[in-house]
Each structure stands twice: as C-alpha cells, then as structure tokens.
C-alpha cells in the first residue's frame, strides 16, 4: 500500500538546519509565530495554573450552588460571566469555568506531548531498524504498519479502558495507549528516509571502514533524519491532544474531578441549548491549541524543508 506521505522516498539534499536558521525562518512566518505564541501561553497557563486562577481567587473544585437557578443552569449573562468568574460557571455544580479551562490545559498538554514522545520513540526505532536492516524483519514490520494504519484506533482505545487495572493512574494509561497506536506513520516516514540514506556514500564509507551497525545507525543515519522527526513530532501533538479529548468526551478518559476539556465538552452536550457558553470556552481552548500546533508544524516543515511547502495533503 502506498500513501500520500510526501517526505517518503524523496532524496535528501543538503540544507541549512542550524537552530538559528530554523528559528529565524519560523519567525518570518506570521502564522507559525502566532502558533508559537499560543503554545507558549497555554504551556505557561498549564504550569502556573494555581497562580493564574489565583488572580480571581477561584479553583476548579469549589461548588457555587448560589450562582445557579432552580434548573441548575447558571444565572446571568453568558453562563454567569462576572468579575469573579471570567468564563461563567458550570451548570449543576457552579464550579468556576475559567479555572476548569486553565487546569484542563494541564492534562491536555501532558497527555498530548507525552503520548507523542512515546509514538515518536517507537516509530523512530522501528523505522530506522527496518529501513537499515531490511530483509524479513522489514517485511514483517512493514506489514504490521500497513495493517495498523487503517485500524479503528479510537475503538481499540475505548475497549482497552475496560481492562485497565485501577492501580495504574489514568493519565499514565492514556499516554501509553494513545502513544502505542500512534507510531506507524512515524515508522513509515523514517523508514523511507533511511532507505535512501543507506545508499549514500558517507554511510557506505562508514560501513566499509568497519563501523558497527549501532554506530552507523545512531551516529550517521539518525542525525540525518532529525529534521523529519522534529516536524513529525510537532504535527502529531494535535492529534494526540485530540485523542485525549475524544476519550474524555466519551466518558472513558480522565475521571472527574480532574479538569479536562474533552470531558467538559462531553458534559456540555446536555446543556447546548440552555447554557451554550459551557461548550464554547473549553471548545475554543481545544481548537486554539490544536490549530496552534498545526500551523507551527506547517511553518517548521517549511523552514526545515522548503520544497515541501504547501504540498502536504
């Protein structure tokens, strides 16, 4: 099976990949810069969540039942927006929605970034070894990648939540499961690059001079696929964040009371008509961080490989 991976199989030409060059190139791209700024803001909000919510003196756990009417919907404009509750309050509980959104960034970024790292590590290991060694090992794992590519991964993730022992913390389990199902695309792209690198003179020379496979793989081949790995890492984060949010949305992700955007959006399903702002704030946060990573990834790809600009499908 072939795919639309545009990076795969392309000859790797010399290019400036110095950090300073890349940074300058990304900063010239207005969209990518905006993406970086949004990511930094969300990351800071996640790290300093207690300080940020401290401005209004709120936290995501305290109930404010006095701010709700008889049906459980928040009183006042826009879901109870006020000086103390910037985003209003949750229906039924009256918890401060601003705090919920700020603290929600923690689980979203933690699971999103960690799961990406798990995927990239597995994918790179499989990709460089299959591409480099070839043979039956390559054929077997490439077939596994083919099969895993089209699988209903969300269904599998949901199913696995049924058997997770309660001794494992939920976020750790989610990172493992989401990360495990994410490696095939990375492996395929890295393998494609390694296949062409393997034939290059410096690799052949290194082998001829008696370097062991380990040295050639990690000291000669790996540095040359770093650019691809970095781009893929950035592009994968939003989909991993999306999986966490989807699982929490479906009620099989992070358990309450830990704030999670996905779960809040899931809870908002029943309040769409009466309290739409309950959906809008966490939804906007999720959309913004996903968009930020997407445009940053696009900018980074253009900076590292100018030829791929705008060609990805």
């Amino acid at each position: 099976m072939t795919t639309a991976n545009t990076v795969e199989g392309e000859p790797i030409t010399a290019r400036k990949t110095g950090i300073r060059h890349v940074a300058r190139s990304v900063l010239r791209d207005g969209w990518a810069t905006t993406g970086v700024v949004i990511i930094v803001v969300f990351a800071l909000a996640a790290i300093f969540a207690p300080l940020v919510t401290g401005i209004t003196g709120q936290n995501p756990y305290t109930y404010h039942l006095n701010l709700l009417d008889d049906s459980g919907a928040p009183k006042g404009f826009g879901g109870g927006i006020s000086a103390a509750h910037w985003f209003g309050v949750e229906p039924l509980t009256g918890r401060d929605l601003f705090s919920v959104v700020v603290y929600g960034a923690r689980i979203s970024l933690l699971v999103g970034v960690s799961a990406t790292i798990v995927s990239v590590v597995i994918g790179v290991l499989v990709g460089i070894t299959t591409g480099f060694f070839g043979g039956w090992y390559d054929r077997l794992l490439s077939r596994v990648v083919d099969v895993m590519f089209g699988f209903p991964v969300l269904v599998f993730m949901i199913a696995l939540t049924a058997i997770v022992p309660s001794s494992i913390p939920r976020p750790v389990f989610m990172i493992a499961v989401i990360g495990f199902f994410g490696w095939p695309p990375v492996a395929r792209v890295v393998r494609g690059q390694v296949l062409s690198l393997r034939e290059r003179n410096f690799v052949v020379a290194s082998t001829a001079m008696g370097a062991g496979s380990g040295h050639v793989l990690f000291a000669q081949v790996l540095p040359n696929v770093t650019a691809t790995i970095i781009v893929y890492t950035t592009i994968m984060v939003p989909s991993m964040i999306g999986f966490e949010a989807a699982l929490s949305f479906l009620g099989v992700g992070v358990p309450p009371p830990t704030p999670s955007w996905g779960r809040t959006i899931g809870d908002a399903v029943g309040w769409v008509q009466t309290s739409p702002m309950y959906l809008v704030f966490p939804g906007a946060a999720l959309f913004l961080i996903t968009l930020a990573f997407n445009v940053f990834g696009d900018g980074l790809r253009d900076a590292l490989d100018p030829r791929s600009g705008g060609r990805r499908s």
């Binding site: 590519f149 908002a268 959906l279």
Partner: protein, 331 residues
C-alpha cells in the same frame, strides 16, 4: 486469470491478518490479569460459584484450548455450559454477553443499522463533495472557489468533529429549528425522518474530511492534467469532459482510493463520537455502555468485529484499486 490470482492472493492475505488480529485481541483481553468469571460472578462470590462461572464461560480450560474455542466459534459457532443451561452461540460467534444473556453477534446486528446509516452516508458525502470540490478547484485554479476550499481544509483539520457537531446542533437545531437535534428513526419506519435525522451527523463527519480530500484531489488533478497523455487525448480530438473524466480523474483518483481505505477506521471512531453528540443508540453507544458495565465479552466481541470490518473493507478497497490502477495487477 491474472485477475483471479490477484483476488485470491489478497483474500489469503486478509484471512491471515484476520486470524492474527483475533489471536492478539484474545490475548490482550483474556490472558491479562482481568478475570471475566470474577467480574460476572457477583457478590458474594464463593469459590464454588467462581469455578462454576469459569466452567460455564469456558475460561477454566488451558489458554490454547480457550483460544481454539474462540477462533472456531467465529467460524462454526459454539455453545457455553452443558445440559439444560447451555446457551448456543451461532456462527459467526464473536462471544456471548453473559450480562445481557445474548450472543454478541446478535447485539451487534441489532445496533448495526444506526452506525451503518451514519458511516456509509458520511463516507459517500465526503467522497462525492471532496472529489468534486477538488476537480473544480483544480480546473479553476487561483479563483475564489479554489482559495476557499483550501482555507476550509486548513481550519477544518483543527476542529474536533464533536465541537463542529455541537455547534451545528445549536445553530441548525435550536436557533433555526430546521433539523432535529438528535435521535435516530429507522429507515423502514419513516424514510423522510430517517434522512432528516441523519443530515447533521453526515455533514459533521464529512465536512472536515471532504476538505482534506478536495485538497488531495486538487493536487493530483493538477499533476495529471499536465501529463503528456492528456495532451495526446486532446490531440486525438476527444471531447473535454471525456478527457477530464476518463483520462484525468481516473488517474488522479488512485491515491484518493488508498487514503479512503485508510480513513475507514477513523470513520468508525468518528461514528462513536457522532452517536454521543446526536444521542443515537448505535454500536458506539453500545461499546461505551459495555465499558462502563464491564461487559468484557461484548467489548472484545465488538472490537474484533470492528477490526474484521475494517480489514474486510480494506480488502474491498484493494480490489477496487486493482480495477482503477491496471499496474497493480501486473505487479
């Protein structure tokens, strides 16, 4: 003859994959420390009760025998327990839900029309609009149509489908009151209501993917329309629609078919989400309920069914691929 060989090779490959997937799913769900008998034994659970539950479920046997029963159950069916209390699970037996006292296959079939209605409609919608949008923007390159299709594609990939769906319910369902806000009406009961209830789920699932397909088709179409054989076709005096469709589109569609096969798995995940957003009682809702009630047999059975469905769908896509792209058969 060559075509037959191609089909047979693919068929054999599919069967191997199916057997492996079944074995792995079995290993993950039944050999790990979770104990189905313990879960359904109830409280208080005496050792004798537990043993009886184990024997009834067939989990008292050694693992290789359990796996054998499990696999042969899919092919020829099986039964649980013995004597008067025995329950029969006809082929294809994906397991037996002891909680609901029904074969998993039967439970799946009862929910299948809901999920199939959502998934098939959404897939058709995104394929048709995506390919048509791509062809139009390729032929009208640089115009506003082209630019707007491409902008939607970029913004669209960042919006989760449930967010789009909920906003659509809010706008078209509650504010404008054009469409129902949720629920499912069987096709056999009232075709018009069936369609009305499905418009929002279809559009929600298809909207983003259609934009991605449009982008892909556009790129392919632009590339193909620049090929020499297109010039040859025009030089032969063929009419333009025929050049675009039989010579241009047919070749541009090859990668689209590949991606379509790969997206079917994601589509199944998408329907799970859509069912929650639009409160439809389909397979996804069944899976979520089964996870909450720890109905392990149903979870495993459905997961396996989903994997089978996708592997089979990919097999069909592979065959279509063979027809669209003559080079595949030769290779």
């Amino acid at each position: 003859m060559r075509m037959l060989r191609f089909v047979l090779v693919r068929l054999a490959g599919m069967l191997v994959v199916l057997a492996l997937v079944a074995a792995i799913a079995y290993a993950i769900f039944y050999l790990l420390p979770t104990n189905p008998a313990q879960l359904s034994c109830g409280k208080p659970c005496t050792p004798a009760d537990l043993q009886r539950a184990k024997e009834f479920m067939g989990t008292a046997a050694p693992w290789w025998q359990q796996l054998g029963n499990f696999l042969s159950g899919i092919l020829v069916g099986r039964s649980f327990g013995s004597g008067d209390a025995a329950v029969v699970c006809a082929a294809p037996c994906f397991g037996f839900s002891f909680q609901q006292n029904a074969p998993v296959t039967q439970l799946i079939l009862s929910r299948f029309p809901v999920t199939a209605s959502i998934a098939v409609g959404a897939a058709l919608l995104w394929l048709i609009t995506g390919v048509a949008g791509g062809v139009i923007s390729a032929l009208r390159r640089g115009t506003w149509v082209d630019r707007s299709v491409m902008s939607v594609a970029i913004a669209g990939v960042s919006a989760p489908s449930y967010l789009v769906g909920l906003l659509a319910i809010l706008f078209f369902g509650f504010t404008l009151q054009w469409l129902p806000t949720g629920g499912y009406v069987p096709l056999t009961e009232d075709p018009v209501q069936w369609l009305l209830h499905l418009i929002l789920p279809w559009c929600t699932l298809a909207f983003i993917t259609a934009a991605i397909y449009a982008r892909l088709t556009r790129g392919q179409m632009i590339e193909v329309m620049g090929e020499d054989y297109i010039r040859t076709a025009r030089a032969k005096g063929l009419r333009e629609p025929r050049v675009v469709i039989t010579h241009g589109l047919r070749n541009a569609l090859i990668p689209v078919v590949t991606i379509f096969g790969l997206d079917l798995g994601a589509l199944l995940g998408g329907t799970v989400i859509a069912e929650k957003v639009f409160s439809m009682q389909g397979l996804g809702a069944m899976l979520i309920d089964a996870v909450h009630t720890l109905d392990l047999q149903l979870v495993v059975g459905f997961t396996l069914f989903a994997a089978f469905l996708i592997v089979f769908a990919n097999f069909v896509v592979d065959l279509i691929y063979g027809f669209v792209d003559p080079r595949v058969k030769a290779g």
